[in-house]
């Protein structure tokens, strides 16, 4: 037994080093964002001597990060609400209701999983341009919904499969219509899954850069991540402000991670084990 224990500690040391390598880049960035330019040039590593917020406010105000932040918030919130609504409606019907063609429709939804955005970028941009949806908020929301709906339908369907059909039969006997069952029974019962899928979708949309780059060409519609990519050119000689801009974009995600880590991991796990 003692040999095994020794082995465990021999494993723990590299694991700790890896944990440090995982965390350090972010701590470094936070530290740099707090420094003055002069400090950073003199010494890359010294701990900042004070908590300075000037760099953050410079990034927020003069680079337009504030505006991009609002754009992202609007698009991501709308996308997530739509994804949850459409995904749970379809998931409920595909898992609990018997109707002709349901398995074909389910496969149709799943087929979307195997079509990455890169493969349909050109025709999709053309469709958006032809329908005057390119460079509009609803256009990008639609692109996000189309991108993440297959995954959402898949997860909601497998979650709702686990709900006993007696519950639905009882609700029907009480005089509920199908829509009533969806609203009064399925939505409340689906809360844990909706929360997990909702957070995952919010992360996916918030973190996206390629779709918003292609679908939102104009500066005033720019999302936050595209804003981060433009920081490099503007602040190549002012690293603390650059680091501050990066932090602004990372803060919401870090907050979500700190408070909702569980749900994110559950969503990822559910997506992999239900397959």
């Amino acid at each position: 037994m003692s040999r095994l224990r020794l082995g465990r500690w021999a494993v723990a040391i590299p694991m700790s080093l890896l944990a440090l390598a995982t965390i350090y880049p972010l701590l470094f960035t936070v530290n740099v964002a707090m420094k003055t330019r002069r400090d950073y040039i003199l010494d890359r590593f010294s701990l900042t001597d004070a908590l300075r917020w000037e760099n953050i406010s410079t990034a927020w105000n003069s680079v337009g990060m504030g505006r991009y932040f609002a754009n992202s918030l609007l698009v991501v919130t709308s996308s997530v609400v739509l994804l949850l609504l459409l995904g749970s409606m379809a998931g409920f019907a595909l898992s609990q209701l018997r109707f002709r063609g349901s398995s074909v429709l389910f496969l149709g939804c799943l087929a979307g999983l195997f079509v990455p955005f890169q493969v349909i970028m050109v025709p999709l941009a053309r469709i958006m341009a032809d329908t005057a949806l390119i460079d509009t908020y609803p256009g990008l929301v639609l692109v996000y919904v189309a991108q993440f709906l297959p995954f959402t339908v898949f997860l909601m369907t497998s979650y709702y499969r686990g709900i006993p059909s007696d519950i639905i039969d009882a609700a029907r006997l009480d005089g509920n219509s199908v829509y009533g069952v969806y609203r009064r029974i399925m939505l409340p019962l689906g809360t844990p899954a909706l929360l997990s899928v909702g957070i995952l979708n919010a992360l996916f949309c918030w973190n996206d850069v390629l779709m918003s780059l292609v679908m939102m060409p104009s500066v005033e519609h720019r999302t936050l991540m595209v804003g981060v990519t433009s920081l490099r050119g503007q602040y190549s000689d002012d690293i603390p402000t650059f680091a501050s801009g990066v932090l602004i974009a990372a803060v919401p995600v870090l907050a979500v991670y700190l408070f909702l880590q569980r749900q994110i991991a559950d969503g990822v796990a559910a997506g992999s084990t239900k397959g």
């Binding site: 500690w9 149709g108 349909i120 050109v122 189309a146």
Partner: protein, 286 residues
């Protein structure tokens, strides 16, 4: 009650419409585009001209070569989270802490990760400062065509192994612990346990992680490439997705980009099928 018969269809309709119109139909449209011309030949059928041009383009050839590199590095990208998940499952001291720390970069956008590593890997940046203090370097991490792609892939693995780790842990949750106990009683060493118990029992999870990691490498590195190297130096960090974006957005060659898209789609199908085949064979040998 008559209207009730249509209820299921009405519930599914919005989802299926969006998926068909904005995902499946564009796929066909894109394949169709790839056989038409650009610019003055817009809309005219040109047969395989775009494909010929693609394979003659050194940038696209580099992009395909880099896909080969990704395939070679795939076992590393899967083994790291697999091994770490094994240790966490076997309850190393502090396993809860490790799990949440390792998972953390997975929620960051590639753009943010790329920007942070731009700072760390800059020629006058901290990594070279550390190496300089022990009289090594400086190394031009992102400016040397022989190194840059390895750096970008390394950062991608750093940023995503936490996702695969969570998937592996979900797989471990379904593992029959009696098997492990039996192996322990028989005095099996850790490598023996991994090889004879864990790998066969988790074949499905490993297959899933292999496929999703490969798909991730082929379709979610754009943010890193865009921020860290912009395809450079000397075009050495091109991947098909970056090539598609450049041809469509910068070069105004949508038909050529569509041909590259179609090839990317074929690569993904082949990769998926190959891996499933390989694992089936591995499963039969056991």
């Amino acid at each position: 009650m008559r209207a009730e018969r249509f209820a299921p269809y009405l519930l599914v309709a919005p989802a299926i419409l969006i998926i068909v119109v904005l995902r499946l139909y564009p796929l066909l449209l894109g394949v169709n585009f790839s056989f038409t011309g650009d610019a003055e030949q817009n809309g005219l059928a040109v047969g395989f001209d775009n494909y010929r041009e693609l394979f003659a383009d050194p940038l696209f050839r580099t992009a395909l070569g880099n896909v080969g590199l990704l395939v070679l590095l795939l076992p590393v990208a899967v083994a790291i989270p697999g091994l770490l998940a094994t240790f966490i499952y076997l309850r190393v001291p502090g396993h809860r802490f490790y799990r949440s720390v390792y998972f953390f970069p997975a929620v960051l956008s590639p753009v943010i990760v790329g920007a942070i590593f731009n700072l760390l890997l800059a020629f006058d940046g901290p990594l070279n400062a550390v190496l300089g203090s022990v009289n090594v370097g400086p190394v031009d991490w992102l400016g040397d065509p022989d190194i840059a792609m390895f750096m970008v892939v390394g950062v991608h693995i750093w940023a995503t192994f936490g996702m695969a780790l969570v998937v592996f842990l979900a797989g471990f949750a379904t593992l029959d612990s009696a098997l492990l106990d039996a192996a322990r009683v028989d005095g099996a060493s850790l490598p023996q346990v991994v090889w004879h118990v864990i790998i066969p029992s988790l074949a499905r999870t490993i297959q899933f992680v292999l496929v999703t990691t490969m798909i991730g490498m082929l379709t979610s590195m754009f943010g890193l490439l865009f921020v860290m190297t912009s395809g450079g130096p000397e075009g050495s960090t091109y991947l098909p997705e970056y090539y598609i974006w450049i041809q469509q957005g910068q070069m105004n060659r949508p038909a050529l980009a569509s041909a590259a898209s179609t090839i990317l789609f074929v690569i993904m199908l082949v990769v998926g099928m190959l891996q499933i085949k390989l694992l089936e064979r591995a499963g039969r040998d056991k």
